[in-house]
Structures are given as structure tokens and as C-alpha cells.
Amino acid sequence: MKRDPANNISVTGVPSPKSWREIPIGGVITDAGNSEEYHTGGWRSFRPIWDWQKCVNCKVCWIYCPDGSIRIRDGAVAGIDLDYCKGCGICSKECPHDAIKMIEESAAEAEAKVKQ
């Protein structure tokens, strides 16, 4: 994971720790499901890539994803949420139509840079 050397926090979206003045009394967490703020995508060393010609929208990947990272848009599979995908490869392995391929994260990042 890339880190900001100045304050040693992730630059991929993990917020800096709150000071005690910002924390509610009793340390209560008031925002249910706020782990969304913590992006586990930085753990990933392999990235799932879809072949949209092969995907039949069966959603088997969705039911087996441990991180709820398969995006569903308008009732259809719309790829992966890279903020949270840890790159385990279950979707790729279980896809009944072999539509998901795992590629190395560094290769995927390099490719994304070329496209830019």
C-alpha cells in the first residue's frame, strides 16, 4: 500500500485518526457501517478483470464475494469495487462462464497509467 511518509497514513483513502475532541462521549460509534471509510483495496496483489462478452449476469460472483465488492448497477453486474476488493480470486475461480480473469495488480496499474 502506498503511504504518505509525512504522517504515515495510507494515501488510498484511509482517513487520519480522529483526536479525542472529535470522538463522541464514551467512544460510541454513531455511524453504522462506517468501515466503508477504510479502503481494504490496498491489500490487493491481484485484480479481477471481466470479459463482458462472456459474462451472463448470473451473479454467482456477487453471492460468493467476501467483501461485497461486486458492483450491481440497474440489476446487472457492473464489475468490481476496487476500493474494497482484496483480490482473493473467488469470483474468478467460481465464475461458471470463465468470464473473470485475475491479473497482477502492478500490471493493471501500469495499464491504467498508459490509458491515461
Binding site: 460509534i29 453504522a32 457501517g33 450491481i72
Partner: protein
């Protein structure tokens, strides 16, 4: 009960992403499936374990539903209290009955060992809740120590492999049968690869008038020593080798949900994981034979109970 992924997949997950469970962990696969099956309004209690630690590192929580954790052993007692308070407040007319559901997620350490008497007590008292055991067959959260759910011959840090012992020297206990013996309305065993079976069991369990128990096998890539992407494949293999059988006990009647054909040898199961690698050596063949005999014995017993020939 026919389940279809189309309508379910557009619902929001009740467990938020960003939790810190290992890549490829089956626990959240099971939790997501069960929470989609049960639906809101629901209150969840967890005992100490991987799921509890990884979904609630301060100041974060992954739970979009009310969630309570107090200690390792007492999730069943905690949910008993919550359920009783709810019933009492409804009875006194202080709150409206919204049909609240109560679910416990606990590991095998908390269920088989540490929390056994607490769960037994809660079931005997007849509280209306679903207890889900996420069974990864050892204390994985603290670094792979053996539990009474660990199978015979498996390596863990406290059942080492060497000249003296070939891994764990005891068979695991049949906790599902122990809870079936409590004569509660619904008891079942399930696995995450069979999501339709697991989700319909969760629906039946939550609809039962009384306590219910589902024991789910959750492959653990760190503790079992396999590649993270193989999680679902291992769940399938466990069922096909009869190491883990899918069945339910509804009001005392045993029903088999899946009959593997062909029934694969237990060596297929052992080959798939690092924790059993030592058993593949020729000098440990007798250990494999003992394990296969035990698996066959349990399977035959289950078929008799389910009246399947």
C-alpha cells in the same frame, strides 16, 4: 422455497465492506448470505472471534444493523437478554412489536468449547433466536490453536506434527447432534458453496418458534493453508467427501439435504490443504485410515438417522 439472486442482489448488504477479515475468508460470505435471507429488522450478537475483531476495530464498525458483543463465551446469554427485554417491553405496551429477529454469529471455539453451557442454557429456556456457528475448525483469530471442532490428524500450533503426534489425536465432537438433542425446532448443517441451501435454512430457522442452530463450515485460508481463491471449492469438497454433511433436523425429524455422488475419498480432502500435508506421507497411512473410518461411520449414522438407504 425457491431463492433467486435477481431480487436479492439489488438489496443493500447489511454488512459493510472495509472489514479486515483476510482475503478469501468464508465468514463474511456466510454472514452476507444469512443476513440477506433473514432481512431487517434484526439484532445481531457476536462472541469474540475473527468476525467480531475484524468487523469492529475502533473507530469503525461494519454492521449496518444493531450489533452487540460482550465476551467470548456468552453471545447466547447476551441475545437471550436482548430478546427477553424486547418481549417484556412489547408485553407492557412500551414499544410496538415490529417482528424483530435475533441472530448470533460465533466461531467454533465459542460454540464447541467456551460457550457450550451458555448456548445449552439459552436453548433450554426457549428464547427465539438463530445461533450460527461459523466453523473454521480451530481458534484462528488467536493464531490457529486446536479446538474441539478441529478434525483428527490436523496440524495446528497446539496439535503439532512430529515424531510423537501426527497432528490432533482426538476426533472432533458432533455439536450439531448435541444441539439437536435439545429438541429445539430447527437444527442444521450448511456450507457457503450451497448458498441456496444455506439461505433457505436461515429463512426456516428464523421462522421457527423457538431457538434454532445452524453449523456452517467456513474454510480458512490462513489456518487450513490453501490459496485464498479456493475457499468455495474447499467448501464443495468438504461436502463431496462427507467430511461435512448437509442436513437439517426439523422438529426432531432428520432430513438429508445432499447426497454426494460419487462420495469422494477423504484423501482428496487431505491433499487440498497444508494442514494435512503430513498425512500424505506413507508412515502416516494408518492415521488416514482411522480418519476415513470415522468419516464413514458418521456418514452411515447420518443416513440411518435420516432414513436414507
Amino acid at each position: 422455497m425457491v431463492l433467486n439472486l435477481e431480487p436479492i442482489s439489488v438489496e443493500r448488504d447489511l454488512l459493510a465492506p472495509g472489514h479486515r477479515l483476510c482475503a478469501g475468508c468464508a465468514e463474511t460470505i456466510v454472514v452476507r448470505q444469512i443476513l440477506h435471507a433473514v432481512g431487517e429488522p434484526v439484532i445481531v450478537a457476536s462472541s469474540t472471534g475473527c468476525l467480531e475483531v475484524a468487523t469492529s476495530p475502533y473507530p469503525y464498525t461494519s454492521w449496518r444493523v444493531p450489533w452487540i458483543h460482550s465476551a467470548f463465551e456468552n453471545a447466547a446469554s447476551t441475545i437471550s437478554g436482548v430478546e427477553t427485554m424486547y418481549r417484556a417491553l412489547v408485553k407492557r405496551g412500551k414499544i410496538e412489536d415490529k417482528g424483530l429477529k435475533f441472530v448470533v454469529f460465533a466461531g467454533d471455539g465459542a460454540t464447541y468449547d467456551i460457550g457450550l453451557q451458555f448456548i445449552s442454557g439459552a436453548m433450554e429456556r426457549g428464547h427465539r433466536f438463530l445461533y450460527v456457528c461459523l466453523n473454521n475448525e480451530a481458534y484462528m483469530n488467536t493464531g490457529i490453536q486446536r479446538s474441539s471442532a478441529t478434525p483428527f490428524g490436523a496440524w495446528t500450533t497446539t496439535s503439532p506434527v512430529g515424531k510423537e503426534t501426527p497432528g490432533k489425536t482426538q476426533h472432533r465432537k458432533d455439536i450439531t447432534a448435541i444441539f439437536a438433542a435439545h429438541n429445539i425446532p430447527f437444527v442444521a448443517q450448511a456450507a457457503p458453496h450451497a448458498w441456496r441451501d444455506l439461505m433457505s435454512k436461515a429463512k426456516k430457522a428464523i421462522a421457527a418458534d423457538g431457538p434454532s442452530f445452524i453449523n456452517v463450515i467456513v474454510p480458512c485460508q490462513r489456518g487450513w493453508r490453501y490459496a485464498p481463491g479456493d475457499t468455495i471449492e474447499l467448501s464443495r469438497l468438504a461436502v463431496d467427501t462427507c467430511v461435512w454433511s448437509l442436513y437439517e433436523v426439523v422438529d426432531g425429524e432428520w432430513r438429508l439435504n445432499y447426497y454426494p455422488n460419487p462420495k469422494k475419498p477423504v484423501t482428496d480432502w487431505l491433499k487440498s490443504q497444508g494442514r494435512f500435508q503430513h498425512l500424505l506421507k506413507p508412515e502416516n497411512k494408518h492415521v488416514v485410515d482411522i480418519l476415513q473410518a470415522e468419516v464413514d461411520r458418521q456418514w452411515t449414522k447420518l443416513l440411518e438417522r435420516c432414513k436414507v438407504s
